[in-house]
Amino acid sequence: MSTTDTITLHPSRSTFAASRTALGALLLRDVVVLRKNLGEFVVRTLIQPFLLCFVFLFVFPKIGQSVGGGTHAAASSVNFATILVAGVVGISIMFQGVQSVALQMSQEFGFTREIEDRVQAPCPIWLVALSKVLGGCLQGLISAAIVLPIASVVHAKGVEADLSLRWLLILTLVPLSCLAMSSLGLVLGTSFEPRNIGLMFGFVVLPITFLGGTYYQWTRLAPVKVGGFHWLQTLVLINPLIYVNEGMRAAFTSAPHMHLYIVYPVLLGFCAVFLSIGLRNFRRRVLS
């Protein structure tokens, strides 16, 4: 094998060509790992949406408990199942970003040190980080696809979600949301040490989840105000999940939602901000 004539004494390929095949190989590796862990992946992806739908759409109606202010819900033309189904897709995409990118990367940096080998790939190191984000995107897309049917199955009688699919929105907003959330995962994974993962969940993931419009529409937060100031509706605008969930509402249901000319550019903006912070963090962690 390694005889003098087979050892490459000088790089033989252009950096562009080498980077392209390296990116392909990094993604191929992610797909193979995903296929190996498919069972675990499906369970991990489905358990939260299943529990959400089970409690809110099956148990609550059975025991006659309305979710929060029943009067408003009754006044609304949109039932809670419809609100929740979009939120469940959004939150699944977000958790995929956290789990497949942030947790994975935090481990590879801190515990397995795998990243040290990965960055020796014959490509710029930002491409290694980007491949993680793209791998996370792929998992987000798959989870969105397998989560949606849950809400149409798990519910009590008469609590069906009212779906109306808009394919153009689905095919653009779902990938955009996956990219934004995977990029968020890159930021988190490169910012938190494995021993601080608990902090990450407590201070970042939980607030994003509960204040991200999963269980309610952003458009209906207006009544929460001090004086004339709709403080909650304003405050949650810093939460990227709001735009994901409102986007899912627009794509999958006919429920009222935030204007799409806000959703698209803001999601794009979050992608840009998270990617630039995440790639910079990654570079700092890898190089000295």
Partner: protein
């Protein structure tokens, strides 16, 4: 680019690194040339700058100043390109835990642009060569430290790099695995593989390397073949004498009585003498010590080692 006649595979000019916030440079103006086909060792204690040097050559540490050319490519300005010609085995286990043993090799091949068939064939062949074939489907968690190390070496040479960089390759390995790894590296080298390794084991540098650079405080103190370095000590024997009493007085007595002693220093419970042309030195040393009123408890004769060279250069021992 190197000139066509040059066979140097690594060349650095004034290569320096000062980490942010550090008072002193970790590597200080290093000029180094490694020839094709060499096993080259960077020997020094922890903190000497070996790992930083290897880090700069493998694109992971960005130099503060200076240049480094590896396989004809400037690693600072074209790191992605240089990585095509670099193989790295790091100190820690960096195997992909989600892939099995065979897949760790296979995907490395794909990462470096080999096709599926070629990667498959090379993975099979390397597992045979590194005696890991029966572990092909095993999780990397199942491997012992020595086996994991072998797999990392196999992976690092998969893409036939111009240089294989190994950072403390045998640190943490049991003696048997260490010898086995040395054999592997010799075999690879015999087939033309250039290897640069960092180590703080003087035996490793002595046994394995064609040339050794002794480093301390970010500088190269001496660079030669292990034999050449040992000759530089200017002594062909080292005598260790253990005796009770005032060691300074004993040292004075011995150096007065024995003209062939070139250097003498105090060590644990005794003295170490460097001796040139040491004819009957043990008998004469005992006689001289006893004449001065000391009881010699123990005396031994060894040849100079790289440890001796290091002590000569720095006044301190290589091992902490």
């Amino acid at each position: 680019m190197t000139s066509p006649t040059s066979h140097s595979i690594i060349r650095t000019e004034g290569l320096s690194k000062t980490y942010p916030g550090a008072d002193a440079p970790a590597v200080n103006s290093l000029d180094l040339t490694v020839e094709q086909g060499e096993i080259f060792g960077l020997l020094g204690p922890n903190g000497a700058g070996k790992t930083t040097t290897a880090g700069m050559l493998t694109t992971r540490v960005i130099p503060t100043s200076g240049r480094a050319i590896v396989a004809g490519v400037d690693v600072v300005t074209h790191p992605a390109k240089a990585k095509q010609s670099i193989g790295v085995v790091s100190q820690t286990n960096t195997l992909d835990r989600q892939l099995n043993v065979w897949e760790n090799l296979y995907f490395h091949g794909r990462l470096f642009g080999m096709g599926a068939a070629e990667s498959r064939a090379t993975a099979d062949q390397l597992l045979e060569q590194f005696q890991l074939a029966k572990w092909a489907k095993a999780s990397v968690y199942a491997l012992s430290g020595g086996m994991a190390q072998r797999l990392m070496v196999a992976r690092s040479i998969f893409h036939r790099p111009a240089v294989l960089f190994m950072d403390e390759p045998t640190a943490g390995l049991d003696p048997q695995s260490r010898l086995a790894l040395w054999d592997i590296l010799r075999t690879l080298n015999a087939a033309g593989q250039t290897i640069l390794l960092t180590t703080h084991y003087m035996e490793e540098a002595d046994q394995l390397c064609h040339r050794v650079a002794i480093m301390d405080h970010g500088r190269i103190l001496a660079l030669d073949t292990p034999a050449g370095l040992k000759r530089s000590v200017g002594a062909d024997s080292i005598v260790l004498i253990k005796a009770e009493g005032d060691h300074d007085a004993l040292a004075a007595a011995l150096s007065a009585a024995l003209p062939d002693v070139t250097k003498i220093r105090t060590v644990d419970q005794g003295l170490e003498m460097h001796v040139r042309a040491a004819d009957r030195i043990l008998a004469r040393a005992i006689a001289a010590a006893e004449a001065a009123g000391f009881d010699v408890a123990d005396i031994s004769l060894t040849e100079p080692t790289l440890e001796t060279v290091f002590i000569n250069l720095t006044g301190k021992e290589l091992r902490d």
